[in-house]
């Protein structure tokens, strides 16, 4: 019974923890402009993150070591250093977007300007990272984040024309008002939102934090293969809400305050309260994950003592890295830069940097020296190679498309 509860908890936190500010914003923007014609990208992204996370979880469980320790050992300090620089900067950009997301969500609850919430959010983030146990942190934010299921409920309450939604999703076309370049730019943004590198750093380091062994592989696989697809369903629900309410009215989503309006329209104040709680939990949970990921990546690369399972005094440089990153994120946001713009850039840059983390994990997952009998099977490798092509193509195309479309404007 205890094991069953453990499995259920793992799956539920994987669902609740799947969404972050990047998913919320990108799916709503895409829904308001393209309807569900980009829903296929969410499917591609979810399969990709399942593959990526299960490989990195398996590497961590079998070798007992996390991503960047192995990347440095496998690629050497120079190539791994370049990899670290890009991954660390994109992680910092994502952390900034998440802290901004917390502030925007708290503005919705209070009407108080986000700049006043940023120091509060940053302090709360540090406090939780410093004081709370890893499992408590992961479970609480994941479970509260589950309240975002209200987006799926809202889709039903809005009473949409199901055949039209199905048509948009199953026969995707580029809307007349949007060009092909903009369509593909947002396809890459959605892909980047679903396959954010920090999720993998967090997942593999979390496996070490929770002392996974080969025995835990089945549960880890279940968490990923059930939890993440349900998280993907919530992503599509956000896009569907925007497609039902905003697309016919010619409204383009450009702020977090717009994203909650379809939920209020469908379920009134109660649903609105639930969705705001969900957004705070999702952004706070993702901010915790990105803060930890910044500490994980640098500490693992430098060979410092790291992990939440150690007291802060025993992993001082790991904690100092997180404090500095939280301060930098807060300082950037205090300049009044728009957190939504940061989010839009962070998801695209995530897609650009994805090959840097994906390729080393794929190499290690095939290396019998690290993995023994648990190397990738033929089917996994075939799928992994298909994804390598997709990831590299998205990475190469992202910047030219960003320039050609004026970042999708």
């Amino acid at each position: 019974m205890k094991r069953l509860l453990g499995v259920a908890l793992g799956i539920l936190t994987a669902i609740g923890g799947f969404l972050d500010i990047g998913d919320l914003v990108t799916n709503a923007v895409v829904g308001s402009r393209f309807g569900l014609s980009l829903a296929w990208v969410v499917v591609v992204g979810v399969i990709g993150i399942c593959l990526f996370a299960s490989m990195s979880g398996r590497v961590a469980a079998v070798s007992g070591r996390a991503t960047f320790e192995i990347i440095r050992e496998r690629l050497g300090p120079r190539a791994a250093g370049a990899n670290l620089t890009a991954s660390f900067l994109i992680n910092l950009l994502t952390l900034t977007a998440e802290v901004g997301g917390i502030a925007l969500a708290l503005q919705l609850a209070s009407s108080v300007e986000p700049r006043l919430w940023i120091p509060v959010a940053a302090f709360a983030l540090w406090l939780v990272v410093w004081r709370t146990k890893f499992s408590t942190m992961e479970n609480v934010t994941g479970l509260v984040g589950l309240t975002l299921v209200v987006f799926a409920v809202a889709v039903f309450l809005l009473g949409p024309d199901w055949s039209e939604l199905a048509d948009q999703a199953l026969s995707p076309t580029v809307p007349a008002a949007e060009g092909h370049a903009v369509y593909w730019y947002y396809a890459i943004a959605l892909f980047g939102a679903a396959m954010t590198p920090y999720e993998v750093f967090f997942f593999s380091s979390g496996a070490v934090e929770e002392k996974w062994t080969v025995k835990d592989l089945a549960q880890s696989r279940l968490n990923v293969l059930v939890g993440f697809p349900f998280g993907g369903v919530l992503s599509v629900a956000i896009a569907a809400c925007a497609a039902i309410v905003f697309l016919p009215a010619g409204i383009e989503v450009s702020s977090l305050s717009q994203i909650v309006l379809p939920v209020a329209l469908a379920g009134g104040k109660l649903a609105l309260a639930v969705v705001i709680v969900g957004i705070v939990a999702a952004t706070f949970g993702a901010a915790l994950e990105t803060s930890l990921s910044s500490g994980y990546t640098l500490a693992q690369f430098m060979g410092w003592s790291w992990g939440k399972f150690r007291r802060p005094a025993q992993a001082a440089r790991f904690h100092l890295t997180m404090i500095v990153c939280i301060l930098v994120a807060g300082a950037v946001l205090m300049t009044s830069v728009d957190p939504i713009k940061i989010t839009e850039f962070s998801v695209v840059f995530s897609a650009i940097a994805l090959p840097l983390t994906y390729l080393p994990i794929l190499l290690v997952a095939n290396d019998p020296e690290y993995m023994g009998e648990h190397v990738n099977g033929k089917v996994t490798n075939a799928l992994a190679l298909v994804y390598l092509v997709i990831i590299v193509t998205a990475s190469v195309a992202a910047i030219p498309l960003m320039i050609a479309t004026g970042a999708g404007s």
């Binding site: 007349a176 450009s254 609105l272």
Partner: protein, 152 residues
């Protein structure tokens, strides 16, 4: 080598000249340039109407409506800036610019009024929604006129 340098210099000059203010534009280009901020304004007014109606129906809180309206004030500011900094090539373009600027300014006023109402000041919900509807109609008419020119 000198020929290459000269060619590079000429290319750079052509690019810079192409970016100069007041560069010649066709009527279609002008109409297209003004359509984007008008569509942005229509989107802002649509959001403001939805947020206002939801508050009137007690389906949302004043904090959410206030935040949504404040965000739309910023969107309209951006749209007004785009229209105001547009450089028309002829009298037709100047006329469109004047009409667009008036329409966007009216939208700003309607959204600001709605925000006042959401915070307990200003007139009643019906007149606030009527002003937003009127603004949406003006923006739509103007966009339709420009769409005819661009052939969209």
């Amino acid at each position: 080598m000198q020929v290459v340098r000269a060619l590079l210099g000429l290319t750079a000059l052509a690019v810079v000249a192409g970016c100069a203010v007041g560069s010649p534009a066709t009527t279609v280009d002008e109409a297209r340039a003004l359509t984007a901020p008008l569509e942005q304004s229509s989107s802002a007014v649509g959001t403001a109407t939805l947020a206002t109606e939801l508050l009137g129906d007690d389906r949302t809180t004043a904090a959410v409506t206030d935040t949504a309206l404040l965000d739309q004030v910023h969107v309209l500011e951006e749209a007004a800036d785009a229209v105001a900094t547009f450089v028309p090539a002829d009298a037709t373009g100047a006329g469109w610019q004047a009409d667009a600027l008036t329409a966007v300014r009216d939208a700003q006023l309607a959204v600001a009024d709605a925000r006042g109402w959401a915070n307990g000041a200003g007139s009643d919900e019906a007149s606030v929604v009527a002003a937003l509807d009127a603004s949406a109609e003006t923006l739509e008419d103007l966009t339709a006129t420009l769409d005819e020119v661009t052939g969209q």
